[in-house]
Amino acid sequence: MTGRTTGPTLLELRGVSKTFPGVRALADVRLDLRYDEVLALVGENGAGKSTLMKLLSGIYPIETGEFFLDGNRFEPANPRHAQELGISIIHQEFNLMPDLTVAQNIFIGREPRDGGFFLNERRLNKQAAKLIERLELPLDPRALVGGLTVAKQQMVEIAKALSYDPRVLIMDEPTAALNEAEVATLHELIRRFRSPQTGVIYISHRMDELKAIADRITVLRDGQYVDTVDIASTSMKEVITLMVGRTIASDARPVDVRADREVVLSVEGLSTKTLLKDVTFELREGEILGFAGLMGAGRTETARAIVGADPIDGGTIVLRGRRVRIDNPADAARHRIGYLSEDRKQFGLLLEQDVNANITIGSLAEQFSAYGFMQDRKMRAGSQRLVESLRIKTPSILQTARNLSGGNQQKVVIAKWLLKNCDILIFDEPTRGIDVGAKEEIYTLLNDLTAQGKSIIMISSELPEVLRMAHRVAVMSEGRLTGMLTADEATQESVMHLATLRPDTNPEDAAELGLEQSVGEEEIR
């Protein structure tokens, strides 16, 4: 049951190939998008999805292959041309101007003008506000994009893409940065967008959402077309098998709850000027403590505060009973605490440096240096080992990080922390953009780490992932810790309930958390 179509299709790609130095990214790939459909495009990290979409949106010149829109052949010359043809893309990596506001970003190049040259900022902001409202996104048109979280930046991208009123909307892992609630909003957007004139190509590694949104799935593997299947008549297991060419272990819940183990980290009353209020929790040896919450809940800030990346306003951090003072990530590292940021491009990767440098940068001093000299062979061996165990798809460990696929870049960042020997690892959205197969491997690696007695804080917006991996789940909302659930207590419902409590605005919620007084204090202050 292949997806080959008869009759005109909205978009059709035939025999598309593309090579990069040392890499054959695409080989004779085909794809067709029907009117009024959402076509999911899946494949392992480095399968060629983004490359295909970049060809389609005029970023890379077409080497070989034919493109048809409404049955008419076309060749996107450059991004603008593609836009004019009605092809609009949300890239996997953000393309935003941090120094401009949300509105300015959305309408860059299409600013409402007076006399062709003068900006009409009021109209610009009005337009943006209207759009944002229509899309029901929690964005302020006047906010500087640089100050937004990844999730919000993702929303700006979405708003921007939709503002072109495209016929073909391409979304390259739009939900990687989003959590359940936001994913739902996005799906709603897509449903409203699709029409008999339009279609959506939807790239994602989150199998669970495909059933909800997609009609058909096209699978790529190693730059080659595998198959296209109808969602209805296919199970995700089959799709995954098509993707990775093998069946993978189903999800098992964590077994032993580790109440007996020693407390390695205890955070008390952690607060920051911007967001956090009195965050208190304990992390036990060999434990995976999941952190759930809606965007802006403060999980990332908690992590950043603990490792000293952001200044803290109050609260204490105790390591194995010893109170410690952590002013910057270097201090944290010295105390064997590592933080993997949710934002790999800004806070994770050395894009210009090679894979080897990226993986070893954190462990250089303590593992790979003798009298200040780097031990090259040892380093390469180390990186090579991780490249293999994480199956990072790269021609060589000397490949520049920039040239890796999104997911493989993420793997590189993870590899950095797996190599560095930390007792406490804080992973913020660790599996962002990573394919199902690789996820399994990473889960296994995390469990190995805990088996070695290391402790992990796992911040994730993918609830299933949290529920599956975490021994306990901490839930945050509005900068507060609203609940701490054991593996058995933790369910979609229980977590979501705690995640949506609004103690600062809603007295009942405050009461439920026993916060009345503190709310009172807030007002007195």
Binding site: P79, N95, L100, I108, F118, L119
Partner: protein, 329 residues
């Protein structure tokens, strides 16, 4: 500390736009402080109408160059050719007005356009040939320096027969207020409007903030970069006019070193060399800080070898103070 957090929260409450404006005003701070210090510590001769005029007047050339360069630097570029480029433009003005005998208004126009040409070449080398701005404009710096000498046969060109020309700088359409200062004020306003209210300004910021993303958004980045450098070139031309009008002659050998002062003014004004951030107000303040310091230190008759030492330290403190203030905001 408390004040800090208060400023923070109170300011944080304001919409971004207003906050920026306020920060720009705060930037006045250092300038004000310096000015007041000189007025008090300084001899009574510092705070006189005449001396204030002298300060403003001495800001004109550097200020003109700095205004254009602000655009370039906000795109994440740099322009080292403004100093000697200015000298070359001054010489061109001399060639056109004195040697060719063009009427001076034509000569002025031609010179400004010639400055634009210099910028255009820079823009082409940077935007099309993709040569790093530092190199492209360094090369232009050397070429301009040489050409200025060649065209002028290594001797100044004097505007004696066109007294009107000197009036551009020293004339006083407004009584007791030299035209040069008026010119600076006017072009500063124009530059400010262009940077904040036009697509030129918007793309200037956008390119500096993320060139790749701007291009992917369908903006013709190549074109706009060329436009920005050409635009900045017009200021080189104008600076060439202003300095030759002040001196009554085109000096082919001057100009070297002006680029550093102009860039310093821009950066002291809070424009980031990594691009994306900056303002005209800031640049004007930056330029004023430099000339107020130069003037004040001489007025206080500080031994000259100490003047640079103090100048350096004050710049350091001023910038640091502004940064702290901004952080608090």
């Amino acid at each position: 500390m408390t004040t800090a957090s208060e400023t923070r929260t109170s300011l944080a409450a304001l919409p971004v736009g207003v906050r920026d404006k306020l920060q720009q005003l705060l930037a006045f701070g250092s300038l004000l402080v310096i000015f007041i210090v000189f007025s008090i510590a300084g001899s009574p001769n510092f705070l006189t109408y005449g001396n204030v005029l002298a300060i403003l007047y001495s800001t004109v050339v550097i200020g003109t160059l700095a205004l254009g360069t602000t655009f370039v630097i906000i795109t994440g570029g740099i322009d080292l050719s403004i100093g000697t480029g200015m000298a070359l433009c001054a010489v061109m003005s001399g060639v056109m007005i004195v040697n060719w005998g063009l009427p001076w208004p034509l000569g002025v126009l031609g010179t400004i356009l010639f400055g634009g040409l210099i910028g255009l070449v820079n823009g082409f080398n940077i935007s099309i040939l993709k040569i790093p701005p530092f190199i492209a404009t360094l090369a232009m710096m050397l070429v301009a320096q040489g050409l200025a000498l060649v065209l002028a046969h290594s001797t100044p060109i004097y505007f004696n027969d066109t007294p009107a020309y000197s009036k551009i700088s020293r004339g006083e359409l407004i009584p007791n207020f030299p035209n040069a200062v008026v010119v600076l004020a006017v072009i500063a306003v124009i530059a400010g409007v262009l940077l904040n209210k036009t697509i030129l300004g918007r793309y200037t910021y956008s390119i500096g903030s993320n060139e790749e993303a701007t291009a992917l958004s369908g903006v013709n980045v190549r074109k706009w970069k060329i436009i920005v450098y050409t635009f900045a070139g017009l200021f080189i031309g104008l600076a060439g006019i202003m300095i030759s009008a002040r001196l009554g002659s085109a000096q082919p050998a001057t100009g070297m070193g002006y680029e550093l002062q102009a860039i310093a003014a821009v950066v002291i004004g809070g424009t980031s060399l990594s691009g994306g951030k900056g303002s005209i107000v800031g640049t004007v303040i930056g330029a004023l800080i430099i000339s107020v310091l130069n003037n004040g230190l001489q007025i206080l008759s500080i031994p000259q070898e100490w003047q640079n030492v103090i100048l350096g330290l004050v710049i350091l403190v001023a910038v640091y103070a502004d940064m702290v203030r901004k952080k608090e905001a």
